[in-house]
Amino acid sequence: MFKYLFAKNEDIPPGTAAVYFGFSSILWFVIGTGLGSFNAAKLAFPDFVTGSELFSFGHMRQVHVLAVIFGWISMAFAMAMMYITPALGNTKLWSEKLGVWNCFLWNIGLSTGLTLLWFGVTSGREYSDFPWFIDLYIASFIALPMAINVWMTILTRRTQGIYTTNWFFGAGVFMIAIVFIVGNSPEWFNLTGLSEAYLTWWFAHNVLGLWITPIAAAIAYYTVPKVTGNPLYSHRIGHLHFWSVVVFYSTPAAHHLMSAPLPEWLKSFASVEGVLILVPAIAFVSNLLLTMQGKWHMFVENVEIKFTITGVLMAIPLNMQGGFQQTRAINWYVHGTGWIVAHAHLALLGFSTFLEAAAVYYGLQTILRRKLFSLALANFHFWFLLIGFSIYWVSMTIAGLIQGAGKIYEVPYIDVVIAEHPYMIARWVGGTMVFTGNIVWLYNMYMTAKAGTEIPEGRLPHELAYER
């Protein structure tokens, strides 16, 4: 990586930035899920690694959360943007060098920020935990260079049209910059009280709604038509999806604070908008499943499609939960319980991770021009991810319902803790399976880069997946 930092832009092979981002993201995924498994063990067995400040749960939890969001998910997005954006414009990445620097600065900044968080240097605001100078770093050296590279690549495209995926990419990098800067403004301007609490959740909601969800969906808009060879089912539904994301997903932030004394009208507004996030979800799922027409055998045979379509299908329960759990009628029961933890993992570890993993699998193979080292290991990865996640999701959902019942029947809290214990162990088992699968993935991709069969010119990796 270092040899290209000071090379001339023309001397850097196309796709280098994407490869670096790809491997960084996998590494962060391993770290992030490892931390998750460690934290889950602490919840299941409270005296596991105990009495040490650095390894206490309160110091580790946010490191896990931000490592997967800013390390795994966002870097996998950057990886996808670095190779999909130019591919859709029949051009090269605007600046491969900027991309390489972007990846380098991203890893440096994220490592620094997470180390500080680990030592307890935090702003005390969920999801925007980083102290303000790290926020400033992220805005200027992570978000901005990525945005410039994506925009310039779209502007210097050699097609008249811009494909749906690139609408989302171009809009997404803009929205995340705005959301990041506005959402972290309380720290820069020392805003306090309810405004600060609301902006914290405005940020947290919009990072999911205007960054993670649309970009993950955009990746699927590329992977499915590309790998199956089918045209996208409908340009119109693409419009419906894009515009409803911008309009409906950017508004329900207040539904995260239904129990706080926010203005009541704001909660009513956010609650209706919160149900309306089903509109982009319906558009997205229908468009992609209809694109699969005639190619459903690939759901079984092809590893990228297997990941992508699993992710797309998970968008259905995800949005059914997300849409309705925030209404006043249901929120009072599940708010702040394990149900929400399960939902958050359905969004990040279920829906979006499966879509990104497909993009990383596909991208690394195409750029490196090497066939996957082992299809068997890829399938192992898929099943460990899926089963591990399912165990996690089911156990936390049940734990959440127990907590909710405990809440409304005024059960002494310690009884709730006792009742939840088996599910805490199950959660740890599930999380550890995901972690194990990811180690295998890292090995598989490393071996692909080193020892994968070369793909001949003019062929695509999925075409020769079963050839020797």
Partner: protein
């Protein structure tokens, strides 16, 4: 917009995102900034200080540069008996909370009383100041406001601390830092939710209860009891000590981590705490070899656990 007309699309995008931000950011801000702070809100911001996360004065979140909360029953200037009053002592150099720096954030009525009668404009960070919460009338209604007791009553920070004594001094501001740094709020919320939760954990916070507090640390993922009113349910310092040192001492089924490391190296009498020996003794007790668990050491006056317990017990 017909096929591939990106200029129109980009403008529409701007309108859509801008419109959404006007509704979700501008409109609520108008409502939220027009709220007058309540007595709870005043007490919270005065006892927590400027900020309870990362800040210049306390970059490593050690609880430095925070105000002290003291209970006074004698006037530190005249020595006369007074009704017990809570005073917030900002020693020289300790940054003032939002309400002193930006009185506008206190909300209608309170701002005016604090500036006119409370003389908060005369508070000087270099010299330090002592604040109390007082009652006054604004437009026929009783409101609480901040009084700069250094200006109105001539109370000096050092005098107030000497008069009150260490036993009556609570390091609540530093304790909130511990609460944030140690991630207590990842499991303990500070926000009783709608419905039956209120019966169990008490009255929910109200609109003006947060002005000047940052971060609010509501928490979102409750794995343990809500703590907004924990000081009213359990005010025993000894229970808290045992519970923080090893939660399983008082609650065998607790999944809370041990916070024994907050005791630091020395106990109250200046002796080194032998954690290894304590754990060995505790293991013996767990195995049933001894009848009683080992004694939890008394904490030193400047230990982090003191900050945290002072904060938790202040949550009435």
């Amino acid at each position: 917009m017909a096929f591939r007309e990106y200029k129109i699309g980009a403008r529409l995008f701007g309108v859509a995102l801008g419109g959404s931000m006007v509704i979700t950011l501008y409109f609520p801000t108008v409502n939220m900034t027009s709220v007058a702070v309540t007595e709870i809100g005043l007490k919270k911001q005065l006892s927590y200080g400027r900020i309870s996360g990362f800040s210049y004065e306390d970059p490593f979140l050690r609880g430095e540069g925070k105000p002290k909360t003291v209970m006074l029953d004698t006037d530190p200037k005249t020595g006369a008996q007074i009704d017990p009053i809570e005073a917030y002592v900002y020693e020289a150099g300790v940054p003032f909370p939002s309400g002193i720096n930006h009185p506008r954030t206190l909300g209608p009525g309170v701002t005016q009383l604090s500036v006119d009668k409370g003389m908060i404009g005369e508070a000087n960070k270099g010299a330090g100041a002592v604040f109390v919460v007082s009652r006054g009338t604004s437009q026929g209604e009783t409101v609480t406001y901040i009084e700069n007791a250094s200006a109105t009553r001539g109370w000096q920070p050092s005098d107030v601390l000497t008069t009150a004594g260490d036993a009556n001094t609570k390091l609540v501001g530093s304790g909130k830092i511990m609460f944030v740094r140690e991630g207590c709020w990842w499991c303990h919320t500070l926000l009783p939710e709608q419905t039956q939760d209120w019966q169990y954990f008490g009255i929910p916070p109200r609109l003006g209860d947060f002005n000047g507090e940052s971060p609010t640390a509501f928490g979102s993922d409750r794995k343990a009891p809500d703590l907004l009113h924990v000081g009213s349910r359990n005010s025993s310092k000894e229970w808290m000590m045992m519970h923080f040192f090893n939660p399983r001492l008082v609650q065998p089924h607790s999944i809370m981590p041990r916070y024994d490391y907050l005791w630091g190296e020395k106990d109250a009498s200046g002796k080194s705490i032998d954690f290894a020996a304590w754990r060995t003794a505790y293991t013996e007790y767990q195995k049933g070899k001894t009848v009683y668990p080992p004694e939890v050491p008394d904490y030193a006056a400047d230990s982090e656990i003191r900050y945290l317990i002072d904060f938790v017990l202040s949550l009435k």
